[in-house]
Amino acid sequence: MVGSVPLADFGEEPLRAHLEDLPWLERAARAHHRVIGRAAGYGQVIPLRFATIYHDDGRVRTMLQERRDDLTATLARVAGRTEWGVKAYVDPRAFLPDPGEEGPSGGDTPGTAYLLRRRAQRDDKETAHLRATERAEEIHTALTALAAATAAHPPQDARLAAYEGWMVLNNSYLVPDDRTEEFTASVTGLGERYPDVDLELSGPWPPYSFTAPPEREEAP
């Protein structure tokens, strides 16, 4: 599926400027998403990355021919499967060591006591990181068992995504359609099992995270 766009908006320079304009980016990304969603109503789609622009139809045909094998394999991989997103948030305080596990105390002078306290706080934070990450890995492992493939996204910017605490999981799971219920029930179950973790499910998504072309740095 192709659409023509004005070079005045999608040429390299204007696009660069637009991509840093959040309202523009939001409108364009949602339009992209809408078109893919509609297309998905007619059959299996392989979404291309947002703002994939070819200068004319001939180049689109060339791309389709060149990527024929890759696209065919991708279609086979995503057919009958759906992408779901799972994010996990934690409040770092819930993962701090208990006060009972108190580390070093004292110190001969107020100065060293202060330094020891600072150090203990830093160690506590690292411990909390570690514990929260381990918890996220447990959740990831349980969900992976139900998925045909997984993809990791970086933790989202806290201001952009408007959350507090730590995002310890931001993954996509490609789930066979006959396991959809099992997968969503598993997310719910994990959320109940780990009350110190906030799990958020999103989807169904078109298979955005599982259709990227193979990395080929130097295209011919």
Binding site: E12, L22, M63, A158, W166, V197
Partner: protein, 71 residues
């Protein structure tokens, strides 16, 4: 706890994670393939700046440790 299955409108950040395939990372630069001719590197710093509130908190406070790797 679990919440929010299938919002009516998808969250923009979740969408950008997927359609920009590089995600919106605070430090980030992403590379978009534009045409078959060149790559455009854009910086999302300005984008992030446009939604950042004036309080300049330590970014570390909000950065999670890296999640588990994809398998």
């Amino acid at each position: 706890m679990t919440h929010a299955i299938e919002r009516r409108e998808v969250a923009l950040v979740d969408l950008l994670d997927r359609v920009l395939a590089g995600g919106v990372v605070i430090a980030g630069e992403i590379t978009l393939s534009i045409a078959d001719i060149d790559l455009v590197r854009i910086s999302l710093r300005a984008l992030i700046a446009s939604v950042r509130t004036e309080d300049m908190e330590d970014a570390d406070e909000h950065r999670a440790p890296p999640g588990p790797p994809p398998s």
